[in-house]
Symmetry: C2
Subunit: 272 residues, 2 copies
């Protein structure tokens, strides 16, 4: 169930433009309040939190102009203990937008899952906090996330390792760097096992802007939606690990900017 | 329209097993008459016709046992003139199975298209001749074929160059080395422009065995079928070359051995 005031999500397929038009990062700042935004950068996914955090700090400060100096801060969490600290909580408590960097999505869920930071992010998001995540930060948004898996291969059973996401966007399974890394077969493999989830593959420099049950596409690539609701035959339940998957009657949408999607009704639409 | 006696087609996604089980090449020999088969190897696609022809000659002779010695021959066509020669025609006239090697599909269509060899192959195929093609030899089977195009990229308008195939299997658009080279987006791009065609992507060491309107899958990979008949929105007609494609409500099937497909009704089915 979505709370009435649930904040927007910005789910980014990685490698967003940081030097040119910066359409996606500008949208994040806009959603979070523009010049009045208070931004927290969560670097928990990366093993290089200080470099990555500093890069985004500079970018966001620049985008916010004069007002940015004091309104952008990093929260570096490198242990579960730090995910319980008052200092981390205080930063999130006062933020209008929280941005998760890339890295390893399993770091995010294993370090944050069930902590006070996790609970506070959910509470504040249900009360309007804007949440953004790129790459690993996008993957962890979903209920079930792809932890790792091979690509460029025939769809096989178990070609991805799945785990629990932090569930800011329920009912979906997100993959990123999608076209660039040829990941459609791994997403199909995951969706064959979890056909109640909607598979969403996001290209680089491309993002979903989610408001309630609707998302729109922004950026320069496309978003692939895989809907297994009408699947008839599949052999996924009969196979051993790594055997080749058959699946019939998958519905597929490729959406570019100008298109959106209703996640509840599973229907694409034009937005302009 | 399919003639009553039209021979089977074996459409191979490239890199078929030549040393192990050889499931696909054995099926070709079996379809062509087993020990009584009379095989012609067409090397027109490759720039190395003598090496490639010799390799397949040895393989087929071995598979046919004692009887193979005199029943396997190569037809090397390196010019349109040679595609009018009596010698080429005589070989095809007496064959029970013709095998097209890999190489460049555009060589096949540009050297054979409209020649006496082309006409004879069609006439004999409609009268029961078994036709097989691997890689380039698979691509040319369709009405419209992909000549070349980038892969591993977001689906874009015009990301593939299309041309006329030799049309042994009408109504489809075939791509090969499919999962291995991450070609789903280029096939989607082609099908977006030609939604009346069915897109068929064949993995390596995988083949369609086509009898009439039905095919079955054999080999070790899978076959991806893209059906755009129910597509609602698309922007393909509005875009410039290389702009990103949107397409909604594509139907997708991934079929493995044990599955088949009715090309006329566009319906997948289990075969065992």
């Amino acid at each position: 169930m979505l709370a009435q005031n649930t904040g927007p999500l910005l789910v980014i397929g990685g490698a967003e433009d940081k030097k040119g038009e910066q359409v996606i990062l500008k949208e994040f700042i806009r959603l979070a309040g523009g010049d009045a935004a208070r931004i927290v950068i969560m670097t928990v996914a990366t093993e290089h939190p200080y470099e990555v955090g500093e890069d985004y700090t500079q970018i966001f400060r620049k985008l916010m102009g004069d007002s940015g100096e004091d309104q952008v801060q990093c929260v570096h969490i490198e242990s579960r203990e730090e995910a319980q600290h008052e200092k981390s909580l205080a930063a999130i408590e006062s933020a209008s937008g929280v941005f998760f960097t890339g890295g390893d999505q399993f770091r995010i869920t294993s370090l944050l899952g069930g902590t006070r930071v996790d609970a506070l992010l959910h509470a504040r998001h249900e009360d309007g906090l804007v949440l953004a995540g790129t790459s690993a930060g996008a993957s962890m948004m979903s209920t079930t996330m792809i932890i790792e898996g091979s690509a460029h291969d025939t769809a096989r059973v178990g070609m991805v390792r799945l785990g629990a996401g932090l569930e800011f966007l329920p009912g979906v399974l997100i993959d990123q760097h999608f076209a660039q890394r040829g990941r459609i077969n791994r997403l199909l493999s995951a969706i064959a096992e979890y056909p109640h989830h909607l598979g969403i593959g996001i290209d680089e420099n491309t993002a979903l802007v989610v408001h309630g049950h609707e998302f729109e596409v922004i950026g320069t690539g496309s978003v692939t939606v895989i809907d297994a609701a009408d699947v008839t035959d599949t052999n996924v339940h009969l196979l051993d690990q790594h055997e080749h998957l058959a699946i019939c009657n998958v519905k597929l949408h490729i959406l570019t900017p100008g298109y959106g999607f209703n996640l509840r009704d599973r229907i694409p639409r034009k937005t302009n």
